[in-house]
Structure formats: C-alpha cells, structure tokens
Symmetry: C5
Subunit: 310 residues, 5 copies
C-alpha cells in the first residue's frame, strides 16, 4: 500500500504510480516487500535482514549509499510483558517505507496513518519520519509516572518494616523492566543521532531539527528511566538493611533466651543427679535455696544485659 | 499580565500594547495563556504540553524555529516533601512569558517580580531570564550545608555503635532527597546549556555569558550534591559493617555460652540416669568428684577459648 | 597461497606473480610467512609478534608507515570454552594477507575464501577486509538470543525460590563468558576505529564507510552483551535477597522453637530435682498442675509471638 | 595592604599609589575590602559573596566581564579535621587581590608573601597567581604517602584475621578524608581550567602554560587520591569477607557442638525417666551399655562430619 | 656517562664533547646530575624534584619551555612486591638524559644501553626515547597471562565449594597488584600522550608516531589489566555467594537437628519428673508407650520437613 502526498492531500497509489517528485510513503507486509523491493531499488541484504528470526536484539539503523534501513523492536511501556511488535523501515530520497514484521492488533498500521495525516499540511519526508518515530515515545512519561507510583508504594511497605518474598520478585521485575526500557530509549537515541548525521544526504539540512527533537525527547526519557533505576537500587538497599537489622534482632533475642535458660537448666539438672550423698537434697530449706538461687542467677544475667545495653 | 521595560521603568501593559522594540515580559495563568497564545504566535502543541497532567518528569526546554518553550518542576531544597510548583516559559525575540501551572502560596509570582526589578537599570532579555532562573538555585548552598550537618550527626551515632531502625529510614529518605536534587540540577544544567547554544538565535552572542554563569552554578550544586551522596554511601557501608560486626559478636557470645553449658548439662544428665548399677552414685566423694569434674571441664574450655583468641 | 582478483575473477597465483595493480590477497601459514615476508616488504618485528606464545591478550592492530599489522584471537560465541583460533593479518596497498596461527578444523580458511568470493563482482581491498572481519560477528545475535533464553530460565528458578549451588556456578560461568565476549567486541571496535582512521593512507576515503559499518555492528553487539551482563547482575541480586530472606526465616523458625521448648524443658527439669522437701511433688493434683502450667506457658508464648507478628 | 612589583623589587604601597602599569597585588581583610572595592572596580555581588556564611561548599571561580572572582576553602591534607581556612581572590588586568576570610594562625599571609617573593625576578601576573595556587598543592604528595602507609598498616591487621571495631571507624574516617581531598583537588582542577580558558582575556596567551601546570599537578593528586580510595574499598571488602568467613566458622563450630551433644543429652535424659518397667535400668551391664552407646553415637557423628568435610 | 650517536656508531663521550648536532644521550647518577645540570641548561627545580624523598606517587612528565622532565617509578609486573626502581629523565632538543635515582641490580643501565643499541642504524631522539619507554612494557603480556592462570586456578577451587581463608588474602593481594598495575599503565599513557602533544616542540612531527605506538600499547595493557580486575570481582562475588550458601545450609542443618531433638528431650525430661502420682510411670507398657511416642514425634517432624522441602 503506497500513498503520495500531493497538494496537501493523501492519495493511495499503486506501485507503478510512484512518482518521487511527491513525497511517497508505503506500508508493506513482508510478502509485499519481497515482491517489490527490486523495483524500489532496495538491497537484497537488507530485505533478508528483515526476514531472519534472530533479530531480537536489533533496534538500529544502517546507512547505505543510496538508502537507509532500520529495524525497531517496539517496547510498549504500559505492557512490557507481551511479545514485541517489530517494524523495519527504508528511507530513500522522497520515499519512506515501513515494513510490518510482527504486528499484533494491527496497531502499527494505525500509528502510521495517524503520523502521515498529522503533517499533511506542509509535509516533508523528515516530518513524516518524525511523526512515526515520535509515536514510539508518546506513552513514555505516563508509563514512568505510573512506575514511580508503584515504587513509592513499595517504599512505604519496606519503611514500615514489612519484607515479604513477593517484594523481591517485584523489585526484580521492575529492574528488568526499567533496564529493558532504558536500553530501548538508548537505541532510539542512536537511531535519532544517526538520522541527524545524515551521512547519505537523504534529508534537507534545515529539517534535521526534527530528528534532534526526537533525540532529545528520547534522551530525557532515558535519563528519567535511569532515575527510577536509582530509586529501585535505594529500595533494595533499604530492604537489605531491614533484613540485616531483623536478623540481628532475632539473633539477639535468641541469644538472650539461651543465656537465661541454660544456667537454670543446668541447676535443675544438677539437683536431679542421683548421688547418694548430696547434702543440699536433704536440707530443710533446700527447695527454697534452689528457688532463691534461680532468681539470683536470672537477676544477675538481666543486670548484665542491662549494663551492656544488649 | 504583561510588563514592558522602557527607559529603566517597568510599566504594566495590556496585550494590545505589546511592542517588541522594548523588552516585554509576561506572567500568565493557564487560562490567560489559552486566550492569547495565538496573538503571541505560540504553537498549539507547546500550549497543550503545558496543560497535560503527566508532565511530572519534564523539566526541560524545546527549541522551535520561532520560539523556545520550557517547563520546570521546581524543587524546593528546604522542603522537598511538599508538592512541587511548576512553571512553563516561552521565549521569543524580546518577549519572555512565564506561565504559572501549579503555584501554591503564589511564590512564583513574587520571584518573577523580583527578577525583573533587579535588572531594571540596563535590562536585556538574557538578564531577565537569568534573573528568574537564578532564583531557582538561591537556597541551594544553604540546603546542602544543612543536609551535611544532618549526615554528620548520623555519622556520630553510627560510629558510637548505635544502629536503630529509624537510621535506615533516614538514610533512605536522604538518598532519595539527594537523588531528586541531583536530577533537578542536572536538568537545569541541560536547560542552561540549551540556552547557551542559542540555536534559534533569540539571544545576543555577548549576553550568553549569563547563561554560562547559570550553568556553572547549577553544575557546582550538582557536584556538591553528588559529594553528599558519596558520604551517605560511606555511612551506609559503615552501618552495614557495624551490623555485621555486632552479629558476629552476638554469635560468638552465644557459641561460647553453648559450648560451656552443653557439657555440664550432659554431665548432670548423666548422673541423673536411673541405672541400678552406677558405681559413681554410691561413692563417698561422688558429689565432690562431679563438682571437680565440672570445674575442670569449664577450665579446659575457657583455656581453649583463650588459646584460640576466640 | 595467493589470489588476485582481476576482471571479477579470482585466480590462484604464486608469490612471483603478485602484481599490485590488481587486488591481491593471501592466506599463509606461519612457515610460509617466514619464508616470504621479506619479499612482501613486511617488518621482522611484526612477524616475530605472530610467532611468540604470550599473545593471548592481544587482539589489536598496529599501524606502521608502510603497512598495518593486526592479530585477532577469535572468540566463538556459540562455543566459548574451546581453545581459540588466532589469525594475524597484514595490510599493504592492494595487498591483504591473512596468517593462520592457530586454526583447528581449518575453519578460518573457509571463512577467508567465502569473504573474497562474496565481493568478487566489484572488489576493493576495503570490501574484502570488511568481508573477513564481518564474519567474526556473524553468529553474534544468535548467540546473544540463546544466552538470554538461558538467563530467563535461571530467573524462573530463582523467582520460584529455588537456589541450588549449580546456580552459583552457572552465573559465574555466564558472567565470565559475557565479559570475555564484551572484551572481544570492544577490541574489534578498536580495530574498526583504527581502520577508519586510515593513518597510513592505505585505503580510499570513500570506502572507509565499510569499516564504519563494521564498527557500528561491533558496538551494537557490545552494548547488547552489556545488557545481558546487567540482567545477570539483577539475577545475582535476586538470588542474594532470596538467600537472605531464607536465612531470616530459618532463624525465626529456630528461635521460635527454642523459645517454646526452653521453658518447658526447664519446668520438667525442675520437677525432676531430687529434693526431699518439694511440696508440689506430693500434691494430689501435682501432675495435673504441671500439665496446666506447661499449657499456660506455651499459650503465653504463642500469644506474645502473635502480638509481635513474629 | 598592596604591593607593586617594579624593577624586580617589591614595594608596599597604599591604595592611592596603585598604578596598573606595574604588577600590583593586594592582601586584604574583609573590612579593608569593604572600604575599597569600589575604588578597585569590583562588583558588589562578588564582595557580598565573600561575606555570606553559607559558602562552605564553594571552591570555585566566576568569570565576569572585567574581572574574575574566586573563593577557596583550603583543605590541609596533613590536618583535615581542623576548621578550614578560606580565601577569596579577585583578578583584574595587572591586579591580583587575595582576601583573607578565615585564617587561623595567619598562615595564608605568609603563603602570599612567599609566592610573590619567589617570582620577583621576572614577575608576571600569571606567575604570581600560579605561585599562590601552587602552594595549596605543596604538601599533597607527602600527605598521600603518609595515608598510604596508614592503609598498609591496616591491611596487615586485617590479613592477620583481626577485625576490631576501631577498624570500621578508621576506614570510615579515611574514606571521608579521601573523598574530601578528592573533591578539593577536583575543584582546584576546575579553577585551573577556568584560568586556562581565559574567557575575559585577563592573561597573556603565552603565560597560560603556568595554569596548565597547576591543573596537571592537581589532576595527578586527584588521581592518586582516587587510587588510595580504591585501596580502601579493597580493604573494606577484605574485612567483610573476613567477617563472613569468621561467622561461617563460628556457626560451623556451634552446629558441630550441638550435633554432638544433643543426642547424648537425649540418651542420658532417656535413662533418667522414672518408668517402673524399663528393662535396661536393671541390666547388669546397663551402665556399660550406655557408655558404649554414647561412644558409638559420638563416633558415628564424627565419622559423618569427616566424610562431609564439615 | 654520555654517548653520542654519529654515523650509526655509538661513542662514549665526556660532558665537554657534547655536540647537539648529533643525537646525545646520557645516563647519570644523582651526583653526576647535580654537578652538571647547569652546563646542560636544566632547571634547579626539576633537579630538586629528582632528589626529594616523597615522590612515591609521581610517575609523570612536566613540560617546560626549553625541556621536559619526567619521573617514573618502575613497576615490575613479574615481581611486584620488591621495592621499585625509579628513574628521572630530561629531554632537550637532541639530548636525552636518564637519571638513575633508585636502581637495585643495575638493571636500568642495561635497559638503557639495549635501547640505544637497538635503533643505532637510523637513530632519532624519538626512537631512542621510544626504545627506553617500550622496555617498561615488555614483560606486560607475559605477566598478565600468568596472573590469569592464577585466577583460573582460584576459580576452580571456589567452584568446587572450597573457601579457605588464604583465598581471601590471595584475592586481596591480586586486587592490589592489579590496581597498582592499572595505575602504572594509566600513568604511562599520560606520559605517552604528553610526548605526543609535543607542546614545547622538541620532536619532529613525523616521528610522533612512535609515541602513539607506545601509548596504544600501554592502553591495551591497561584495558587487559582491567579485564582481569573484572574477573577478580566475579570471583569474589562467587566466593561470597558460596559462603552465604554454606551458611544457609549450616543453619538449616542446625535448625533441623534442634527441631528433632528438642521435643524428644522434653518428653524424656517429662517422664523424669518425680511426681508421686504420674499414672504413665506405673503403666505396664509405659516404656513401650514412650518409645512409640518418640518415634511418632520424629516421624511427624520429618514428614513436615519433607512437605516444606526444607
Ligand atoms: Mg549508554
Ligand atoms: Mg548511546
Ligand atoms: Mg549517554
Ligand atoms: Mg546528554
Ligand atoms: Mg540530558
Ligand atoms: Mg548526568
Ligand atoms: Mg546532563
Ligand atoms: Mg551526559
Ligand atoms: Mg563538568
Ligand atoms: Mg557530567
Ligand atoms: Mg565541575
Ligand atoms: Mg571500554
Ligand atoms: Mg574501546
Ligand atoms: Mg566506550
Ligand atoms: Mg582501547
Ligand atoms: Mg575509548
Ligand atoms: Mg556509541
Ligand atoms: Mg550505541
Ligand atoms: Mg557511548
Ligand atoms: Mg569529577
Ligand atoms: Mg571536574
Ligand atoms: Mg576527571
Ligand atoms: Mg568534568
Ligand atoms: Mg586526564
Ligand atoms: Mg575525564
Ligand atoms: Mg591523568
Ligand atoms: Mg583513568
Ligand atoms: Mg588517564
Ligand atoms: Mg581513560
Ligand atoms: Mg581510550
Ligand atoms: Mg574517557
């Protein structure tokens, strides 16, 4: 499906009608791409890149002599766990082609149409590309605010001394999410900088400003993601300190109990011995004596604890 | 509300009286902005940016062709926990408009009036902007000195071996506060650098020096904030080491008590057995023997402890 | 073994037939190199570098006046534990010589032949070099995806609370593998940048783009390797937190058991004493009394636990 | 107090005698500054900066159009705990004024006089400034060597397995000292770089070399301070590992003692039961049997320990 | 002792014979330097720098107008614990003087003679300096390979679960050694870069390449040292995890033993009480009952352990 923007109007055109004096954009499936890449003058290597399966780690752009080819694994900040959509894109002089590689719910198509509609008035290649790319950042701030609220809620729990095992899982999930996100924005920064460099002269100098705005927005989101990462590190440290503190207290309590009961247990064991000649056992006040002895021992131990501020 | 600075005098003027040969400044509410942004030639997108709710993470400046638009979430170093004030600002040739977005206690308005009054004598756009921005840094050093004192007080406690649970909470709060602050100054640096770059030529070359002074001040505050962060890390490490050391001591004490009492308990249990034929029970000096045995056992254990420097 | 590329054909030629108007490439063993390096105008120092044994850490390129000499310890991402292949290479004007230093399974030779075949059509020195170097990166993305899957599987185990000792070993292995890999790509980046700098003017300006593509690919792989390293750090932290949490729980359980049984043991020891005059022993309901006492003690302790949310 | 350097001689002059064709230097108290800053053409803002109390964090230089103003909180590496001296300084064309803000023992005055005397022969502004600044670094290397010796002594203790609580305090103090020092040198680097930049053209290009030497010396001291910081981190890690190792050993010892004594205690308790019909109690060799049983139990446990290499 | 290189021959010459049209090199003791530094036109300050005792931290080069002066504390990677040799060096136009400050075994002298002999053929100042400096790196790769082997051997031990206290000491030593080494190479990089900058124009532009090669070699060694440092960090983490895991296991074992024996000990204590009216004691199958009770208790506990996967 190709469109040309002519006199502020968007017309759907066929492959044969492509006229590079107007601004032409296309939205293709992989099959459509395979059938027409030679007519469009795109290299086979790049097309193959689109179709291989091990591109999971590739969000980047390659700059060739005649065209640029990029690939983006779209990260949805509001729903990070689902499988990622993936698009490829080709940029030639006055042609911008988006290739749908993985697209559940056909959401990329809508994004594409919105973007070309938005700048219809005084469309340039750079504005259309900016329009598409900027859509990738649109839910960024909202997602970060929501993540921050989640972290603050976890904070409140830890500060109140509660450490449950789900907390560990949650922190772990959040860290992975944030580091996925950080990496995503870093890669978008790379793409934005690459577009700004304009090495193969596809763009007009005066319109590069749009790519700079995109790069700056990505950088801001990346920095703010980093900020949340730092908060998470503080949270984990607080949790560790709480666990350490609790362990210390448990062991102190335990040690106190042991130190109080061991001597008493020894005493009662002592007078449980069966020796024939144990004078205390026959004393009239022997029982009283052992009661007093126990109280004194406990008293001395408690006093010693107090003095040592145990 | 607009003001123009003419012949070293500040006059309040209406929207219609704006004359861009003088230096004009404005302080608007969101509603006022909505009603007059078209007359001022400001873009709708930026105005919408001002009004959305998810701008919590945005302290930054966008540079457009005809004007620059920035937004600042003001962090009050002396009172970090309250909700933040927020301003937007627009800069055009000879026009500087501050938009009040969130402003409890109307403190921003006062800040704005002070700043334009201060440079009345030989006012330039750059000086007025500098005047407003510099107000954001004014309590920085005082806040940092006070925070440092707080950290030193906490140090003294830890070094004296006291580790109470509030300490953990306090360190956690301080770290979050300092990292909020650091981030704030970093973002002000970005704004300052962006103003210095002067990409859309709104400012005179020779007056960019003022933005450099602002950037340098922010950078110094940012570095000093980092310094306090480092101190806090040292503090946490010292606290961890203290907790570890205490745990070690608790466990040593506990182990010693156990090692001393277990054999004695075994001995007295032993002679508490009810076998018919246990010669020791019938010995004349059986009781004496068990007393001596106990003393010897304790002595040997204590000697062993001493030798191992337990 | 030398080849020249002439009129899009690759011909095997002998040392004497070398004609530097064509593009000449060679694939030599160490012995062949020794016998012909003087004819090729290569320096003795570099040749000796090839033959020393302590080059384990050297993956780099030296730029001399007349030629460049590099050495690469090839890391196979899919099989990191085997001994590494090693190649040297010399670059002169229109001559590219690969020296096989260590090569199990003769895999380097095949790589070399593939690379010169691939760009036969419009061969330049730069393309051939790019072809060889790019082969070193070819299995990178696949290896990273597989490693990521392994890490995710380990995650699932830890999040389910299982921490077995093999996990520690596995994390350790993975970290070493990833840091080997990261270092490898960093060194390839250095070689790529060195080729781009073109200090001794061996290459054409317009063809340096190929070295930039190589450098960018290496950098992307390096960044993605770093990403996996970060995930691994998160994993270790989660494991640590799990271990800490488990220890805390173990100690709590243990302390509870001790606090419940110590007083009971004291009580039964108490009435195991053999004093002649212990009134309780003769009471009609003495046994009932001690049963009730035990139940009360346990009840009080359990209540205290509950109140303290132990 | 002002001095002018004329014909290689230093003459004390009064404010009125200042002649900016010679090199003039001044050493003023705050009061003297207040009374003459207008005659010298210094700005009121900078003078006020000198007098405020919350300048604790300010070691830096501001570059104004006509002059530069700096402030230094002097850190004495050999005596870090005492309160810091503080100086301000103003630099105009051919005028260098040092302002004493805090100066116990009048040591800054001497430093100032030494510095101007040293370059009397062929004095330039740059040399005099360099002379004063360089004095701030003079005891740096000595202080670092002494600190290193202290760290080595602490190392020896930890490696011998001794971990006393003072160690924790000492490490904490050292870290704070080194980070104060590092920050101090970083700030001097900033001042040095600022002087080198020479934005307001107060200095001759050819004499900027002196400021570069100052910057390099500061950077070297900063790097070496960082080196000691790293050593300290290693030391703390070693201490942590020692504490962990000791705890592990304590717990092992404790567990062994418990595992050996618990079964024995159970056995002797068992035959302390008062059942009427317990055949063993009446056996002729019952006592022998329980002795043998105890030995066997201990033997089995010890064997099990040995096999598990506990 | 001075040498001049003339017509590819090295001649020993006296101070008076120095002719700066040839390349002159010198190897002096401190005393010789003191007696001739004025004839050579070297500054007194630099000479004094050579002789002070607190230069332990100084490996660097100062660039003066007429000459450069450097000082190197030589680190021997194969033998880091011995006291370090130290040299100073002066570079003037066509004069290179090495000053022996500390030199056990006279090894520096040999190094110096080798270096000037090596480039005798077409000697330039730059080559001779390169020759001397490059000697400092010559055993680098060998040392790193040997250190790597040592680390791998330690790895194997930890992975097999053995953690002995010497390990801690060894890791500590290795970290200090590697950080000493890293710092050494960083300082050599600084010297190399300083020589490359050639600020006082002592060298020919075209020969600066030699200093670049030296800098690159140093940088590579520094990076590889860093790589080993990272491995060491991984090792320490693995050791920590092993210690934690062991502690967890010890505490679990201990808790199990306690939970099994405490109830049994209570039971046997219970029936050791001396109440007159305890029906169980008189039962015919009382003893059998207590045996069965004990078995049941142990069984229940073991079942509970199994269910909880303790
Ligand atoms: Mg990055
Ligand atoms: Mg990047
Ligand atoms: Mg960055
Ligand atoms: Mg940035
Ligand atoms: Mg930024
Ligand atoms: Mg930053
Ligand atoms: Mg920044
Ligand atoms: Mg940055
Ligand atoms: Mg900076
Ligand atoms: Mg920075
Ligand atoms: Mg700075
Ligand atoms: Mg690197
Ligand atoms: Mg690198
Ligand atoms: Mg890098
Ligand atoms: Mg490098
Ligand atoms: Mg680099
Ligand atoms: Mg990069
Ligand atoms: Mg990158
Ligand atoms: Mg980078
Ligand atoms: Mg810094
Ligand atoms: Mg700095
Ligand atoms: Mg630095
Ligand atoms: Mg900096
Ligand atoms: Mg540097
Ligand atoms: Mg730097
Ligand atoms: Mg340096
Ligand atoms: Mg460095
Ligand atoms: Mg450096
Ligand atoms: Mg560096
Ligand atoms: Mg580098
Ligand atoms: Mg760097």
């Amino acid at each position: 499906m190709f469109y040309s923007i002519h006199n502020k109007e968007i017309r759907e055109i066929s492959l044969e009608q492509l006229d590079f004096h107007d601004i032409c954009v296309g939205y293709l499936t992989l099959d459509e791409l395979k059938s027409c890449y030679q007519d469009l003058g795109l290299s086979e290597v790049a097309v193959k890149d689109c179709m291989t399966d091990f591109t999971h780690f590739r969000t980047s752009m390659d700059v060739y002599d005649e065209f640029s080819f990029g690939m983006i694994n779209i990260v949805d900040i509001l729903n990070l766990s689902t499988r990622r959509n993936r698009i490829g894109f080709f940029i030639k002089k006055n042609l911008f082609v988006v290739v749908k590689i993985i697209d559940k719910e056909d959401s990329i198509r809508q994004m594409f149409l919105d973007a070309i509609g938005r700048f219809r008035q005084n469309a340039t290649m750079e504005k259309v590309i900016y329009g598409v790319l900027e859509r990738l950042l649109s839910s960024g701030n909202r997602g970060l605010v929501m993540t921050e609220r989640q972290i603050i809620a976890m904070e409140r729990e830890v500060v109140n001394g509660k450490v449950d095992p789900e907390l560990n899982t949650e922190i772990f999930d959040l860290r992975n999410r944030l580091s996925t996100l950080k990496n995503y924005y870093e890669q978008l920064i790379d793409i934005g900088e690459s577009l700004q460099e304009n090495e193969n002269d596809l763009f007009e100098e005066e319109d590069l400003r749009y790519f700079k705005i995109f790069t700056d927005k990505s950088e801001r989101l990346s920095n703010n993601t980093q900020l949340l990462c730092d908060n998470l590190i503080h949270l984990r440290e607080a949790m560790d300190a709480t666990l350490n503190y609790n362990l210390n207290n448990t062991m102190k309590l335990f040690t106190m109990v042991t130190i109080i009961f061991q001597p008493l247990t020894l005493i009662v064991g002592w007078y449980g011995m069966n020796f024939k000649y144990m004078p205390e056992l026959g004393w009239k006040f022997g029982y009283l004596y052992v009661i007093v002895l126990s109280i004194v021992v406990v008293g001395v131990i408690l006093y010693w604890f107090k003095k040592r501020k145990f």
